[in-house]
Symmetry: C2
Subunit: 235 residues, 2 copies
């Protein structure tokens, strides 16, 4: 994947580790750090569970150096009250643009320090800024969570929304009708269905069974249960 995650001035080694974990989850492997407190960087790298991503992470002196090989540079922001000179896109929109760009060129995604975010100087290297649509009242997100949410949006597959879940074969009309018929019988034997209203009740039961969304296997289970109940009612 052509994506580079660039943490600018991160302060907390746990956050650096959390960012690396989110990257691993979503298959993004190139982590770059700008001006990381040396201690934080080294501490994160030497953590017992440090991932390959963390061990291979590279440190840079400046944002310019860190993004030199990228052709699209995007900064993340919780916006706040700064007047921004850059176009600002919501993550939903920005994520799609980044995903398209990645097919042909490296993209850098910048995250600022936990406390102050990206500086105006950092932002001047960005083509545009991207905002996670979280509540403004709450302030900024946790760094690891922000990285996770951004990477998810970039790798998420819009086509998946239209895909069907892997479910068992739906019950056929014949199977549903067998369940319906047996349920009717049981209800008749139980005295639930009165002769006078039989017709409309039967239709109600038929619709009820259709609304169960039965799969083929569950239809068998229901038939078994109903047979047992019927046997008990008649003996």
């Amino acid at each position: 994947m052509n994506l580079r995650v660039v943490l600018v001035s991160p302060r907390n080694p746990l956050n650096i580790g959390a960012a690396a974990r989110a990257m691993s989850n979503f298959g993004v492997f190139e982590l770059r750090l700008v001006n990381a407190y040396n201690v934080a960087f080294l501490e994160a790298k030497s953590a017992v569970k440090a991932s390959k991503i963390l061990i291979n992470a590279r440190g840079f002196e400046s944002v310019a150096d860190a993004v030199a090989d990228c052709s699209l540079i995007v900064g993340t922001t919780s916006i706040g009250n700064r007047a921004l000179e850059h176009p600002l896109r919501r993550l939903e929109t920005g994520g799609r643009i980044i995903a398209k760009k990645l097919a042909s060129a490296p993209v850098a995604l910048l995250f600022g320090s936990e406390k102050f975010g990206l500086t105006n100087e950092d932002m001047s290297y960005c083509h545009w800024l991207m905002r996670i649509p979280s509540r403004e009242e709450h302030g900024s997100m946790n760094l690891g969570q922000a990285v996770a949410v951004c990477l998810y949006e970039i790798i998420r597959n819009p086509a998946a929304v239209r895909a069907k879940p892997e479910i068992k074969r739906a019950a056929s009309a014949e199977e549903m009708e067998r369940v319906t018929a047996l349920l009717e019988e049981v209800l008749e034997h139980s005295g639930y269905v009165h002769a006078r209203v039989e017709g409309s009740t039967k239709m109600k039961i038929r619709r009820l069974v259709r609304r169960m969304g039965l799969n083929s296997h569950d239809a068998e289970v229901w038939l078994g249960m109903l047979r047992q109940i019927k046997w008990k009612l008649l003996n």
Copy 2:
């Protein structure tokens, strides 16, 4: 918001706190804990920066109690190698279904313990399961990050993908033509444009200026710079 986040058997107070923070970011306020190690729960609640969400979080003895008032129950899973009895949806799909359902009824979203996820018993209370499309090789996600990503997908606005970013007014054709003309002049005075090829070069410059995607303000800036260069060239 009608959404309840249910953490089943969480072990680490930091993770409970991280889940609460993600909830606050995305405007989800009802946190429920099932069978949380008492120590973890109390420790999370008493943390200095404990949010209102954490302080108001309720503990339950069982999943059944925790989801009793909800009409859709969804479990999250990193799938692994368990044979699942439930329909499994990707987050992109499941998130849309949950978002729709929330308009009319409470929905519970279950997260299992950090180490083992949801048990088969826990899952039996769920209508279906949802999987974050992360790399399977990596194993499960960090709990706080998983909550953040799921809530983001539920609150994300598909319509936003089509929305335009807030950018400054694009330069008008007249403004672009003024930039073009002045740039041509400057290039002529610099000896860049040769009389023999003047026509085609002028068209190249015109196209070049159109590709700059100028906004109205930037067009003014360019005109100022070019005027200055021209003045210098002629004096």
